[in-house]
Every structure is written in C-alpha cells, then in structure tokens.
C-alpha cells in the first residue's frame, strides 16, 4: 500500500520544483474556504454609484450591510438596506439576506424576507455575491406581481399600476397603505 505514496511523492516533488512550494511549514490556522470565497467575491463586486456597503466589523467579512439607492424606476429616491449573513457553508448554501426596513414591495414581506429565486431554490455554488446583488437591484426596477410575498402590494400592482406607483411613493415617505404603516426610506 505504501508504494502508492512513493509514486505520488515523486509527482509532488516535480510539482513543487515548478511551483516553489516547500513543506514542513509550522502549522498555523488556515483561512477557511468560505472566507476565501467571500474575499474573492468581494473583490469582484461592481457596485456602481447606486450601491454601497458597510462592514460593522471589517475583520468579519461574512456579515455586512448593502445599501441600494435606485436611480430609476418606481423606487427611485429611496434608500434600502439589506443585511448579508454568509453561512460558513457558503458557497454550498446561499447568503442569508434580509431587508432592514419595512417596505411596500410585492416580493419583500413585512419582516424583510426577500423572494428572490437565487437566494433559495435556484442557488448554485457557482453563483456569487454579485449575482445576488444584481438580483436585489432588479427587484426595485421590476417588482414582480406573480411571485408575491406581500399579497396586497402584488394585487395593487396587478390591478392598477398607477395606484401601485402612488402607494410606493406613500409608503416610501413613511405613510400608510391599506392599514399598514411603512418605514420612511426617502433620502
């Protein structure tokens, strides 16, 4: 059985000579797979000028806040924030994302849960944080009445787009729509 390892050892030696790696290192804790992946994802982020981040603890890159300020569409003029909590099983499991404000949106419920397919049923390890962020941005440009989490908002959007628009403005200003008072998110 051990002969296998002599064979492999030769292979490794050849590889090491090419790579300049040496063994017998003093053992230190390694950066975890989830952290490496998040570091890579963060360095690929393209936030443009409508989004920004905040890291409550810069040493913990697995939790941060994303701010979105849509510059077009019905939610233009609002500032929305989402907490990102990335599990240590990332990217096997998707990041946990929640809206911090109570907003009037067909795909976001009153607790801040977000109905975005890639955050749940369509998540794949090849997807990255940028894909999630683009998905969130898209929700503000194209709210979707067919997958409702806030049923009233979805009904309004389906029935009369004009009234839905008015309701969005009312809610963003901190007003009440259908008996529900929303957070002021206008900047």
């Amino acid at each position: 059985m051990l002969k296998i390892w002599s064979m492999k050892k030769e292979q490794q030696k050849a590889e090491n000579a090419a790579e300049g790696t040496t063994a017998a290192a003093p053992k230190k804790k390694k950066v975890t797979a989830a952290q490496l992946r998040v570091q890579k994802d963060l360095s690929e982020l393209s936030l443009g000028n409508t989004m920004s981040t905040e890291f409550p603890d810069p040493d913990d890159i697995l939790s941060f806040i994303l701010y979105i300020e849509p510059d077009e569409g019905m939610y233009k003029g609002g500032r929305f924030s989402f907490t990102f909590n990335i599990p240590t099983s990332f990217p096997h499991e998707p990041p946990k994302v929640q809206c911090r404000e109570k907003i009037y949106h067909p795909n976001i419920d009153l607790e801040g849960k977000v109905c975005l397919n890639i955050l749940r049923e369509d998540w794949k390890p090849v997807l990255n944080l940028n894909a999630v962020i683009v998905g969130l941005q898209f929700l503000f440009l194209e709210p979707n009445a067919s997958d409702p989490l806030n049923k009233e908002a979805a009904e309004d959007l389906r029935n009369t787009r004009e009234m839905f628009k008015r309701n969005v403005r009312t809610a963003m200003a901190g007003g009440t729509v259908r008996g529900e008072t929303y957070h002021k998110v206008l900047v």
Binding site: M1, L2, K3, I4, W5, S6, M7, K8, K9, Q12, K13, N16, E19, G20, T21, A23, A24, A25, P26, K27, K28, K29, K30, V31, T32, A33, Q35, L36, R37, Q39, K40, L42, S43, L45, L47, S52, T53, E54, P58, D59, D60, I61, T88, S89, P91, H92, D109, E111, K113, C115, N117, R120, E121, W123, K124, P125, D147, P148, L149, K151
Partner: protein
C-alpha cells in the same frame, strides 16, 4: 446443505477472503500488491470509521469481515428508537446509549480477533496527531459540514516529505435511493471541496409559493417554519428538538392546510420537514457501504485496482428510476480553496516591515505579479481595495508593521487581485 465450517474455526472464516486478497488478478498492479503478506499487513493497519449510523453500522461490519483488525470509530450521537429499523447493530435496550460504543461492542462480539475502539465525540474534538495514526479513513456521514471538516483536516496534514501523511479518504453518502462512493487521496486527487457541486443543495420551495399558493402539506409546514414563526415568535429561538416547538409549528401548519384544503400534515411530517430529515433506505446504505469497504480492502491489499488511483474516483448510484451506476473521474480544481493552490512561501524581511511594503513586493515577485492585491489573514482583514467602505476601514493598516497587525512567521495570508478574478492566492509568510 449444512455448513461444514464450525463458527469457531477461524481460519475457515477467512478462507475465501484470503483467496481474493492473496491472488493477483489480470489488472493487479504488481508494485502495489502485497500478496502473501497481506493478512499481516492488514492486521497491523489502523483504520478510522467516521459515523456509526445507517452507513456506519454497515461499514463497521464489512470492514471487520474484510480482515481489518484494528478499527476506531467516532460518533457523538446516541441511539434513538427511530434508528432501529436500519441501524442493525442496535437493539431496543440500547436506546439512549452511545452509537459508537454499542456498535463497537456488537461487532467485536461477532467477529473474533477484531478490536474496535469507540469515541463518543465530535470529529472536531480531535487534532491532527490523532488522525495521523490511521492509514485509511472511511466516512459514513449525513452532514456535508462534517465531510468538509475532515476533508480539510486530511488535506492540511499532507507533508510532501512524509509518505505516511497521505491518508486516503473513502467517503460514502446516501439520500433515499441515491448514493455515492468516492476515494480521495488528499492533494493528489480531487477532494470533497472540489466536488461540492456534486451535492445538490437542499431542494427548497420558492418563498412566494409558501406565502401565497401552498399545494402540498410540506409547503404548509415550511410556511409555519419560515414565515409564521418569525411573525409570531412564540418562543425566543426555535429548538427543533423541543416537542413543544414542533407542536406549535404542527398546529400552525395544520390550520393553514385546512384553509387551503390540503391533506397530510402530521406531527411526524412536521418534524421531518423542519429537521430536514431525508428518508434513509437501509438497502441503499448497504450498497454504498459495500462499495466503500471493497475500496478499503483493495487499497489496503492492492489485490485489484481501486477507485481514485488515480483516475476514476467517483461512483454514483441511483435507484430512483430503475437502477443506474456511473463511475467517472472528478477533476481536481486548481482553485480549490482546500486542496488547490497550496500556500506558497513569501519571504519577508521581518515583523518590522509594513503591510504596504509587503503588498508592493507582491507586484515584483515574478510568480505573483499581483499589482492590485487585497489581503486577509485568518479572522483579520488586512487590506481590501473593494468595496469602497472596506477600503476606507482597512487603509490605516497599510502603514502598520506586520508585528502591529499580529502577523507571525508561518502565518497564512490570502491575496486576491482583480487581474486574477477567479483565484485567491495563498501565501505563507516566511520571516528572514
């Protein structure tokens, strides 16, 4: 026909096994084959089994009957009454006892001459010195986290100069009628982390389906679990093992099912959905455990080519639609965060060097040529160029010395650069 062999007649028990393991076949690699010494070699070998559940019971029994004499088993769980239908080393009287201990004792009783050492602990409770004593590791786990942990540990233990530091990992897994057996030679063949895409993440139902148009009893339970619980917060935190909490979810799910005219919500279904219990099928466990243990026997004896040495390393089995198996080579990923790009040495002048100097030096090193590096160490963000807020927060670190940042000789740092978006480079600091 009555058996001619008395059960206590030990040599007879191993007669057929010996015929298999001491005779070469047409594909046997003569360099790996132990031949006549195989029994002695296998007796001196220490093999570790992780998990003493559905797969683990099978694996322990199979290994003992394959001629392994010194087996250790780790499992932190205790026996639950619901295990008894398939975890056949356990009896009703064993409920509440340690799985590892009961399984070890049972197999020792039935297979004379085998020694099984149980560890009623978590795999994370042991260090590398412990894992170093084994020549082979066989996993029968149901959690992806535990697999990733042992995989990373075994890969991390590899020392190119020490033959014995390569511990082959044989991993079995089942889900209902499906399963897989694979062999991993750390840093040589593709590892569990490379193969993460082979694990379909838990099939989830769209949140909006739960919220608006439930169609199945499971949808009502998931609704109670992810939506109603958060809205009403009946207890401070959900404890999936607390019957009172499960009852609350069950009642909620039942009411919702009645509202939508859906049949089939029960207490035990609620428990199953909330705890994400995948139905385990005893026969699938047998198939997969048998495949794993045959690989263990072949790796240990060299009597026939084994999975993973080095070509085909992954056998998938599916019984969902008739029966199908497929064996293939899963390629190692060069950018695998666990086994790919092992840290390279990065010589630095010493602890008084600033982070800025260190990062600048990365641009000049021919094998790195990282002109816009961002860097992190374990639990510490050193400097990130993007996103903007993180850049601002970490910019003051640039003028700090490595000592001030807590960086020591032998410490690993991870470096990313937009020019190499697909990889994170790992370096090991080497103070001159």
């Amino acid at each position: 026909m009555t058996s001619q062999v008395h059960p206590s007649s030990e040599p007879a028990r191993w007669r057929y096994l010996d015929q298999v393991r001491t005779r070469p076949g047409p594909f046997t690699n003569p360099d790996l084959f132990s031949g006549a010494q195989v029994a002695a070699a296998m007796e001196s070998m220490k093999i570790l089994v992780i998990g003493a559940g559905g797969l683990g019971c099978e694996i322990l029994k199979n290994l003992a009957l394959s001629g392994f004499k010194n087996i250790h088993v780790i499992d932190m769980d205790t026996i639950d009454i619901s295990n008894l239908n398939r975890q056949f080393l356990f009896r009703q009287d064993d409920v509440g006892k340690s799985k590892a201990e009961v399984a070890a004792r049972f197999v020792e009783r039935r297979v004379r001459g085998v020694k099984i050492t149980p560890h009623n602990k978590r795999i994370q409770d042991f260090d590398e010195d412990f894992y170093m004593q084994f020549q082979l590791v066989v996993c029968g786990l149901d959690s992806i986290e535990a697999r990733r942990w042992i995989n990373a540990t075994l890969v991390n233990m590899v020392d190119e100069d020490v033959e014995d530091s390569y511990k082959p990992l044989i991993d079995g897994g089942t889900e209902g009628f499906k399963g897989q057996a694979r062999v991993i030679i750390p840093t040589v063949t593709s590892c569990i982390e490379c193969q993460l895409d082979m694990h379909a993440p838990r099939a989830a139902v769209p949140l909006c389906t739960l919220a608006s148009i439930p169609r199945q009893p499971e949808h009502c339970i998931e609704w109670a679990h992810v939506i109603a619980w958060d809205q009403e917060k009946p207890f401070p935190a959900l404890d999936k093992d607390d019957p009172e909490h499960i009852s609350w979810l069950y009642q909620k799910a039942l009411a919702r099912a009645q509202e939508f005219n859906i049949q089939g919500v029960t207490y035990s279904l609620t428990q199953g959905v909330v705890k994400n219990i995948i139905p385990a099928i005893a026969a699938t466990n047998s198939v997969i455990a048998a495949a794993c243990c045959n690989e263990a026997l072949k790796i240990a004896s060299g009597c026939a080519p084994a999975l993973g040495l080095p070509d085909n390393n992954y056998m998938m089995y599916s019984g969902n639609d008739a029966i199908y198996t497929y064996t293939f080579q899963h390629q190692r990923k060069e950018d695998c965060p666990v086994c790919g790009n092992r840290p390279r040495d990065l010589p630095v002048s010493g602890p008084q060097q600033t982070l800025r100097d260190l990062l600048d030096s990365l641009a000049d090193r021919p094998e790195a040529q990282l002109k816009q590096p961002s860097a992190r160490a374990v639990g510490k963000t050193l400097y990130m160029r993007v996103p903007e807020s993180l850049e601002k927060q970490t910019r003051p670190n640039l003028d700090k010395t490595l000592a001030e940042l807590g960086l020591e000789d032998g410490q690993e740092i991870a470096v990313s650069d937009p020019a190499f978006a697909t990889v994170v480079f790992r370096f090991m600091l080497r103070f001159k």
